[in-house]
């Protein structure tokens, strides 16, 4: 039972990351559509924010596997 609970935790963490990064992506697309000349700035900030969210999700994944 212990193993499957860890996998469940990992899945939940990834749901959060998926939703968060999806929202960033959609807002970034909208922003680019509104102001195409700001593509460079928007892309940079989008990747940075995605990395931060990804960090949180990966921390959850790694911990759920390693900590018993």
């Amino acid at each position: 039972m212990g193993g499957s609970v860890a996998a469940l935790g990992m899945g939940l963490a990834v749901i959060g990351a998926g939703i968060g990064i999806g929202m960033i992506g959609s807002r970034a697309m909208e922003a680019i559509a509104r102001q195409p000349e700001a593509v460079g700035d928007i892309r940079g900030n989008m990747i940075l924010t995605a990395a931060l969210i990804e960090g949180a999700a990966l921390i959850a994944i790694v911990f759920s596997y390693l900590v018993r």
């Binding site: 990395a51 931060l52 990804e54 960090g55 990966l58 921390i59 790694v62 911990f63 390693l66 900590v67």
Partner: protein
């Protein structure tokens, strides 16, 4: 440039000392029954060292039965020394953990071992004394130390000192259940992998090295500490020398080409350095950016260099930034620089936030105080998790070939999965390259943001918060 180099050396030496406490990732909640060592290193083409299944596996067992493919090899103490089935999870763990030998393809370089135990004090010898086989398991024990799967372990119990031959198949790992006292009964509290040595009929347990994780990741203080020059340390040395050579030669070029346009590597690095200066240092640090720029550059290039070094498959795939101890030291450096440069307003904001009612302060102060420690902690974990996940995914994708080909039995599975896995792996490596840059950048920008918050001058009007 001298400041850069000093900062580099300081960070690096602390990381070396801390990596001595690097814990062994060699445990999972699943049992280690299928713990095979199909070592590809990081060769992502299907170049095999005769490792397809066990057919070509020359594994002479002096302490066990003749090895038939598909079956576990059990030595005379009843410990499984070589597993029949292929276990990708265990292989992945082995590849992301630190080792006392450096495997580059078929070449195995012994590394110096510096070990300290309460009984025998400090000992300094080469891991070649263990005469390790290709898997990193030694056939000799030295001064009550053995090498199992690339890591040094200490034999507990009665065992002669000096060089003792233990032969093949003497060491194996057993997944033991730990029992806890609960309401007077013995309750299962999880599994722990214990390494056993079988020698002259005696079954002796072997300790792993001490780690500073207080048992959270299955580590803890044991009978010896390992200060060896391990694979991670060697990789850090190599990256240090490469970076130093690169930056010093560029510094020389700047002097030679004064007033002229930058050329070659100078131009490339100038772009990156100016990017860090203009996008990271100046916006976040305000007018104090020059003081902290060398530190930020060290953080960025050290992490970037280590990330990229781990991505190259032909250099042993050393997972340096994916080791908690290295990232821990980097986070500690960020923590120290932030808090040693904190001005009065920073500490005021942490402990006694101005402009909020008193009852909110009682909630806010502990949260802010914890935040002082949690921010570097997240820096450490973010980098560790990203890089380790990347390495694990690499190993798992290559292991897919072995799983689908059923360790060499299914030819169609083998060819099909080689092509599919090869393409997947190339795609993932591209992503990992991007991740290497992004993680170095994120670490740097967050450190800059924390330092900026700590050194910020008080701009707020009285009633604004």
């Amino acid at each position: 440039m001298k400041k850069l180099l000093t900062a580099f050396l300081l960070t690096f030496s602390l990381a070396y000392l801390a990596s001595a406490q690097q814990h062994d990732h060699d445990h999972g909640t699943e049992t280690h029954d299928s713990h095979n060592h199909d070592h590809d290193g990081h060769d992502h083409d299907t170049h095999a060292h005769g490792e397809e299944g066990h057919a070509a596996h020359d594994h002479a067992h002096s302490g066990g039965h003749a090895h038939t493919p598909g079956e576990d090899a059990i030595n005379s103490c009843g410990v499984v020394t070589h597993h029949g089935e292929f276990d990708p999870g265990a292989l992945a763990f082995h590849h992301i953990s630190d080792q006392n030998v450096y495997n580059i393809g078929p070449l195995q370089l012994p590394l110096p071992c510096i070990l300290h135990s309460k009984e025998s004090g400090i000992e300094f010898f080469s891991s070649g004394k263990f005469h390790p086989d290709y898997h990193g398991t030694g056939t000799f024990a030295y001064n009550k130390y053995v090498l199992f799967e690339g890591l040094v372990r200490r034999i507990q119990g009665d065992f002669p000192s000096g060089l003792v031959e233990i032969g093949h198949g003497a060491l194996g790992v057993v997944a033991e259940t730990i029992y806890e006292e609960k309401d007077g009964k013995q309750v299962e509290a999880g599994k722990k992998d214990v390494v056993y040595l079988c020698h002259s009929g005696a079954k002796l347990a072997c300790d792993n090295k001490s780690t500073l994780d207080f048992g959270v990741f299955g580590g803890g203080l044991t009978s010896f500490t390992d200060f060896s020059i391990t694979k991670n340390v060697v990789s850090m040395f190599i990256v240090l020398f490469l970076m130093s050579w690169l930056f010093l030669s560029i510094a020389k070029k700047y002097k030679e080409r004064e007033g002229m346009a930058p050329k070659g590597a100078q131009g490339l690095l100038e772009t990156v350095i100016v990017f860090i200066q203009d996008e990271v240092a100046k916006p976040f640090l305000g007018h104090k950016w020059e003081k902290f720029l060398p530190f930020l550059l060290v953080i960025f290039f050290f992490i970037l260099g280590l990330n990229l070094w781990g991505q190259v498959p032909f250099l042993g795939g050393s997972n340096v930034t994916g080791s908690l101890s290295v990232t821990f030291v980097l986070a500690i450096m960020a923590f120290l620089v932030t808090n040693l440069n904190g001005n009065k307003h920073y500490w005021e904001h942490v402990f006694w936030m101005p402009g909020v009612p008193a009852w909110i302060k009682t909630i806010l102060t502990p949260v802010e105080f914890l935040g002082v420690f949690i921010k570097p902690l997240t820096l450490m974990l973010r980098l560790f998790a990203n890089i380790t996940a990347g390495h694990m995914v690499m190993v798992i994708f290559v292991s897919l070939i072995f799983v689908f080909s059923k360790s060499g039995e299914s030819v169609i599975g083998g060819y099909g999965s080689s092509i599919a896995s090869g393409l997947l792996t190339v795609f993932m490596m591209a992503i990992e390259l991007l991740v290497a840059f992004i993680q170095a950048f994120v670490f740097t920008i967050l450190t800059a943001s924390y330092i900026g918050a700590a050194t910020e001058e008080h701009h707020h009007a009285e009633e604004h918060h």
